[in-house]
């Protein structure tokens, strides 16, 4: 099971970059860099799904008037069994998402 990413920076920025990388992957073959057993673009799909869950549920939490400390406990839980070290980093990721989304 892949380890959950630790989000440092803009959640929406990450999602945009993933879109870009996916569109480039469609046009070019992967050159001989990096590990041989790269699970591209599958790794990308899981990551994208997780980030989209974060974005969607953070928006919902804010719409429901939840504070950042409450959101940290509830956002992203559907992804919990799909990632290693989820409990260690998801809360941190929710904070990054929340502080960006609350300004929308």
């Amino acid at each position: 099971m892949r380890r959950v990413p630790s989000l440092d920076g803009s959640l929406k920025g990450w999602l945009k970059e993933l879109q870009l990388l996916k569109s480039v992957a469609a046009k070019r073959a992967v050159p001989g860099h990096g590990p041989t057993s790269v699970d591209w673009p599958l790794g990308c799909r899981d990551l994208e799904r997780y980030l989209q869950v974060l974005l969607r549920e953070t928006r919902a939490a804010i719409a429901q008037g939840r504070d950042i400390d409450a959101a940290v406990k509830t956002v992203g839980l559907s992804e919990r069994t799909r990632w290693a070290l989820f409990d260690d980093y998801n809360g941190h990721n929710v904070i990054q998402a929340f502080k960006e989304v609350e300004w929308e």
């Binding site: 920076g9 990450w14 945009k16 970059e17």
Partner: protein
């Protein structure tokens, strides 16, 4: 263009491989396991090495900078900085894109203390999981020093072993 993607992605490529040049990324995080041209040393061996004497120890941890324009009467009280006893504290010597006056200070401190002996043993450290000391050790090697030890466990490793500390004031240009 390439550099602008990495901050967005917020992740570092191949975090434990030695970079070719100085580490330019986020300071806190997993560090390299090796230092080309130097020796990685851990707490027990370091304590033994220091007992032999004739070793220069340099701490390159960051120092909190008092910001300009604090309110008059604002309380500015950085914690006293613990160092390995006898160490010099030269903040900024481990920054990838080093400030030229700090570079000069670092070079001169080393030259003075070692009496220009490029074989003199140097030990350089900061914190666990912090790139500053790796960069500073690499820099010392670039100045020509041949016996540079990098202590990646840092003050945390030193204190976890119950070893004594002293406090030091930062050396600034």
């Amino acid at each position: 263009m390439l550099a602008s993607y990495l901050p967005w992605l917020g992740i570092a490529a191949s975090a434990v491989q030695e970079p070719a040049g100085y580490w330019m990324g986020a300071i806190h995080g997993p560090v390299a396991a090796t230092l080309s041209g130097g020796t990685v040393i851990h707490t027990k061996k370091l304590a033994a090495l220091l007992k032999m004497g004739d070793v220069m120890v340099i701490d390159v941890s960051d120092a909190p900078r008092r910001p300009d324009n604090l309110a008059s009467g604002a309380v500015w009280l950085p914690l006293p900085h613990p160092v390995i006893p006898g160490a010099l504290w030269i903040p900024g010597a481990g920054i990838g894109a080093i400030n030229p006056s700090v570079d000069k200070l670092f070079r001169e401190c080393l030259a003075q203390r070692t009496e220009n002996d490029l074989a003199h043993r140097l030990v350089i450290y900061c914190h666990r999981n912090c790139w500053l000391s790796w960069n500073a050790a690499k820099r010392a090697i670039s100045y020509g020093y041949r016996n540079v030890f990098w202590f990646p466990d840092g003050m945390e490793g030193w204190r976890a072993a119950g070893l004594p500390t002293a406090t030091a004031e930062p050396l600034l240009p």
